[in-house]
Symmetry: C2
Subunit: 571 residues, 2 copies
Amino acid sequence: MFLPDWLKHYEKGQLNGDLIAGIIVAVVLVPQAMAYGLLAGLPPEVALYSSVLPLILYAAFGSSRTLAVGPVGLMSLMTGATLIELGINDLPGMISAAHTLALLVGTILLLMRLARLGVVINFLSHPVISGFISASAIIIALSQMKHIFGLNISLGLPAYETLAQLLIQLPQSDLAASVIGISSLVLLWAFKAPLVSFLSKTSISEGVAQLISKSGPLVAVAISTSIVYFLNLDTQHQVSIIGKIPPGLPEIILPSLDKALILKLLPSAFLIALIGYLESVSIAKSMASQKRQKIDSNKELIGLGTANIASAISGGYPVAGGFGRSMVNFTAGANSPLASIISAGLVGLTLLVLTPLFFFLPKATLAAIIVFAVLPLIDTHSFKRALAYDKADAFSLLGTFFTVLIIDVESGIIAGVIMSVCLYLYRSSQPHIAIVGQVGNSEHYRNIDRHNVKTDDKIIAIRIDENLYFANTNFLEDTIMQIVADNSAVNHIVLICSSVSVIDTSGLESLEDILFRLRKVGVKLHLAEVKGPVMDRLKGTEFLNNLSKNSIFLSTHQAMQALKSSQQPLS
Amino acid sequence: MFLPDWLKHYEKGQLNGDLIAGIIVAVVLVPQAMAYGLLAGLPPEVALYSSVLPLILYAAFGSSRTLAVGPVGLMSLMTGATLIELGINDLPGMISAAHTLALLVGTILLLMRLARLGVVINFLSHPVISGFISASAIIIALSQMKHIFGLNISLGLPAYETLAQLLIQLPQSDLAASVIGISSLVLLWAFKAPLVSFLSKTSISEGVAQLISKSGPLVAVAISTSIVYFLNLDTQHQVSIIGKIPPGLPEIILPSLDKALILKLLPSAFLIALIGYLESVSIAKSMASQKRQKIDSNKELIGLGTANIASAISGGYPVAGGFGRSMVNFTAGANSPLASIISAGLVGLTLLVLTPLFFFLPKATLAAIIVFAVLPLIDTHSFKRALAYDKADAFSLLGTFFTVLIIDVESGIIAGVIMSVCLYLYRSSQPHIAIVGQVGNSEHYRNIDRHNVKTDDKIIAIRIDENLYFANTNFLEDTIMQIVADNSAVNHIVLICSSVSVIDTSGLESLEDILFRLRKVGVKLHLAEVKGPVMDRLKGTEFLNNLSKNSIFLSTHQAMQALKSSQQPLS
């Protein structure tokens, strides 16, 4: 029988932590899931359905012990944007397309595992991710303002238009909604810092204190729902409420496999899969490293892939590991994925018996919960660091950030990847190339521009600080020919390859070209400090055959000594 | 007064070479230009107009002394394909769009000079260029078969469809056209190898011998035109002929500046400009290096830019430096751009007085001239070399080759660039990382898998053979954590940075992460052999502040000695 690793070695002592963490996460998850459903433009039950079966499947196949899978902000935003972009406006159509999207995301993740394509996330640089997440958080927060102030702003506008609409309409804010929304924000804030510091001074046990401090969203939900119910705010003040959630556990359904729909969803599905995978793996890794556990990227693809397929066939939409809830799970002492299974069970119980309680839940409160969940994702620190350390990275961060805000999330990621790749290639197309000289009488050779070193008119040693590949072959050729043109006495060039780990075909042809051009002007080419793997590949090439014998030296010093002694009879 | 450099220092002795080369190039250029016009689907006079003013402008502004500018195969092919793709079918419309295209190409080249974007050609790797040129040569040769066999195959089909049509229609070949076409091919072949070896055995002077051997196309034109004229093949056998070329020099016109047309032409214009620039610079560099001259890429942009604008305003189409004619110019002894000015003058003279002679020139002969000009461009050698040296490069070569043949030229270039960039990033995302040990009692440290070296249980030195940047940060983290997991006794990790020339923001954050994760498991991180420019940037970062003091060593040996002595009291 198939049993996940963690279950085979489960110890009794782990149960307590898992139980407490499972309960606390469920308390956060139920209101958060409904809020994220709202963000995706989907009814709350779709998001609640996404919080049962996917958690159990991830527990069975994933590699993180504490990752809390389920509806998350980024995936909800991207799902909502995709549906709007495709012009799917009717609720049944949106729900059905959301199931299909989850199925595609899950299938793509499993195919990425099969094709060993998990490495594609390496193409997303940290600054691009940071710019992308900050801008997405702003979009998410902005999109919720209409609920908080009771306004009517269409979904799917670029962020700056949403902001403009918000500013124009603000004077028409609905008083009742605004009071509920803003009070919810204040309550949620109070549950964060002030309550935590108060509880730490009391004699309440840590587990209970955590449960209380994390129950902010649930308390906000309870209070605001009661107020709406008792004051009849929904009928007398048109406060927007959740309404009827159909009771009962999710049923197993087959998502629509309409070919035209699948083709339209595919590009977004790919990006959503990528972002979901990226988010989950980075959270999982950061938690695992604190407990000396290991995250297996391949297992993550399977865990997330099956979780999304589970979501698709149980009436849900795309899921991933969420940052906030995973942190709650981790700090609440979860020891194993059993915690997630307990959370899933509690969400199921909620679906079975508690849905009538949410009828009068005001959307303004859910919106406040979302705003509070995403605000910590706005990350100015990374920008400041990138600006101080590397302007090019700061540039791609800002580029991604503004592309997301001005156009949309998907364009932002694509623009970010293209920018960071082009900037990297541009940088390595003009590598640092130094002429080096001997330090005193030592065997060390250093940059003549940085150190006081001895040089030789006839023998010039050049160190190239980059791989030789297509992007920099022209630069290398031009630089070497310029050095030769500037030093008329030279008759030996030693190319120091200590930093060269790859020579591609363009680089090889360029070396041949340099050899040939130098020979035309009576200069001999030599190589020093060629690495083992590079040398292995050069063997048998025309370049190596054309190079004079004894022209490859282990060290720069050996090269200089040998060439100097070969010159003595002449000079 | 503005005078180009070469003219300021012109010496009498250079005149003889320039005169002979100028005449020989003109002899090649007149029939070749008309043939390339045919390839672009344009009347011969457009191509002849492109062979006057552009040559003079390039002579004034370009940096190569021997580059022969004018109509070339690739540019003609791409121009023809662009016009067909845009659905421009009427001859006046095609001619007018061709002028506008040349204007755009020229403007783009000048703007690239202003924006210092000449470096973009670095993104084209040698294998991609080779695959692109080979496939283009096949497309060009295939496109001419209909003229050689007197068939009717539409222009602008993908290469495999052209081939299929050719095979289907071959039984309906026109006998007269086929005889002329195949005889022309045989004659052109005879003028290459056999005649050259015969002439070298006679006492004819080298200049005259060269003139004779390069006049193959002109002789083919003369003979086939006479045959058509005397046998009335055009009227009695419907052999396709050139017909009337309006006599007279090109007139200065303003190309159409229709906004819709410009917007449609722009993407192709950008690629044509790029390819024309790339082709011209590589030919110019290869010739210059043989005479210790220097090519200034910036001047080339200006030279080619003004040449294209000159072509646009004198009734021509996009031009570039051609490989074949430049070689003819160079080997015929051209010393300066005066040779090109002489060629231009002779083409002008031809336009003034000789155009009636070309009336009966059969298209089959022109097609044979094109086939002969492009066949040497099919380059299997590069593929064999790439396959032997670097499978990834062979893959991008083949990918580009087949994309050009199956889709089109432009898709081929774009696919080639994407493939080569992705393959490079993929390769550097899994860099060579070696654990090193001490060679004997020396100060040298080498890969433990390749050499017999001494290691230490508690101190592991790891050399990373690549820059630390976004594509490989995950790999580095995983590898180091795996090494720590596999070596339970370790408490010091020395990261040898001798091959690290760039650490981008992602790399820096990754180093911090590694530092933090190692600290969690009681392992200290140290750096050795950090390069000057890298160290300069690390100064002041949080990473360097968090690193323990005295954790950066000049050499691996110093690091190992210091850490070993710090261990002694404990072990």
